[in-house]
Subunit: 327 residues, 2 copies
Amino acid sequence: MRYAVVGSGAVGGLYGGMLSRGGQDVHFLLRSDFDHVAQHGLRIDSVNGDFVLPKPNIYRRAQDMPCCDVVIVALKSTNNAMLADTLPHLVGEGGVVLTLQNGLDVEADSVAAVPGHGVLGGCCFLCSNKVGPGHIHHLDYGRIVFGGYEFAGRPEEIRDIGQRIVAEMTAAGIDVQWTDDLAAARWRKLMWNVPFNGLSVVLNASTDAIIGCLASRGLADRIIREVYQGAALCGVSIEESAIEKTMRHTETMVPYDSSMRLDYLHGRPMEVEAIFGSPLRAVAERLTQLAAETSEKLPHPMPSVRMLCEQLQFLDSRPAAASNLNG
Amino acid sequence: MRYAVVGSGAVGGLYGGMLSRGGQDVHFLLRSDFDHVAQHGLRIDSVNGDFVLPKPNIYRRAQDMPCCDVVIVALKSTNNAMLADTLPHLVGEGGVVLTLQNGLDVEADSVAAVPGHGVLGGCCFLCSNKVGPGHIHHLDYGRIVFGGYEFAGRPEEIRDIGQRIVAEMTAAGIDVQWTDDLAAARWRKLMWNVPFNGLSVVLNASTDAIIGCLASRGLADRIIREVYQGAALCGVSIEESAIEKTMRHTETMVPYDSSMRLDYLHGRPMEVEAIFGSPLRAVAERLTQLAAETSEKLPHPMPSVRMLCEQLQFLDSRPAAASNLNG
């Protein structure tokens, strides 16, 4: 299949690079990094082995790119506004979008951009940062779990494409898994993103520091449990052991600056809406619905998440200069 | 009456200075500022008029000071450990301690240091900072509300001393008021200190910025309400209008860096225990008591306060260098 990658940063650069190295036909849409990559190629320093793509297929504009079978959207969700103008140029007949983005319901923008096409959503469990133009540093983990979000009335066909993506990614050395329950995968990912992205910004600390202090560790643990409860309220069933597993994974992880922390330190917009606003809204809507059905008012299951969201909204609203000062 | 001032910073320097200017017999215990004040005097830049005490009575050691009728303790509560060695030298026969400190039950250390003596507790509603050695900058407000904490079996006598303090402070131009309900005054003060000290550190922002953003303003408002509920649970009755009044006061206040924020930015210990730990513990004890009495488990009325406390404990535990970096 032919692949396009929109957003060639920590996630898109790594996976697109691996597919390309594995012999797949991959086309990258670049903006600010175009000149650098044209000269020096795409460089990936990975815990699984470093490599460079000296001459990847790169483009400045979507309209110059070929139609593709799979368009990987690995933008920050704060840039989703560009999808409406971009995706229609890239998705070929019968082609699908695969969003590798953080947060809940981030696929909705892709669905709106190319109605009638299948949209798959994927969660990436990895530690990876873009450390310079066209230069990715992949530190740890790497699994993609993806599933169907919008089947466009052709579930069998979309699932088949999903299976082909699994096969081609696996052949390229990517640790990838199909799921029939994307919502559960999303919420499971939120169980990490919400506490550790959020606290790493508000406490100005990497994951090992948060885990290493009794007070913040206790807080992180409570936030993980709140997200678990939020998922349950929304009818998403996650095994309870995921709570402890999330904490254990973080303990054994390399000291890591979350993407949200890096965004904040560099004065870039943070994915507050996708990671915090969207799940909070889903829970609030479910609470309203339940209150209407049972006329019983349940307590909000995610008070700490709400507070963390408000703190991040404040920090996100400050001018970049102040953010840098704070970093 | 003869006064001693222990802790000649933003609070002790201001009020001790005003008493001294007003003709009272005031004796200051100084540490690091001794040499500077000996040379240059005590300088107070106040919204109500600047003044300098060129030759205040200053001492390096408590044992060199005369016995006093009123010992004003205006230390940061994080330095309360020194009271046990200090107060016995200063409190004369029938003398009292007046603690002008933030937090709940901060008087307990003074009671333990001079058992048998009366201890008064005071809340200061003012914006004042120490901006250099022996140099206080008083920006706004200035009221002291104080009352009895430990009557040492002689309530009438202690109240009389309280009235004399009111009279002498008033004569010195201090806005001061006696209260028969110190607990209510303490909790009312916490309604400001908890949200605005706490958020100013965690969000790295002054009060006007916190008030100016919808998300953080909503959070501050919720925290104020939680403290109000905590007080009610502890049997302390505060008029409900105090909630709105706290917010309105902060709006009309000059942009202000809380003492906790300044401590944090300068890498000094923060008063997390007095302002957050102590009221949280009081509420937890009351909940346990109620649960035993009624076998009904009430929800914790201060979840946001608890979270803010954990965040501050994390930040307080970080090395000073990291704190400064964050500032």
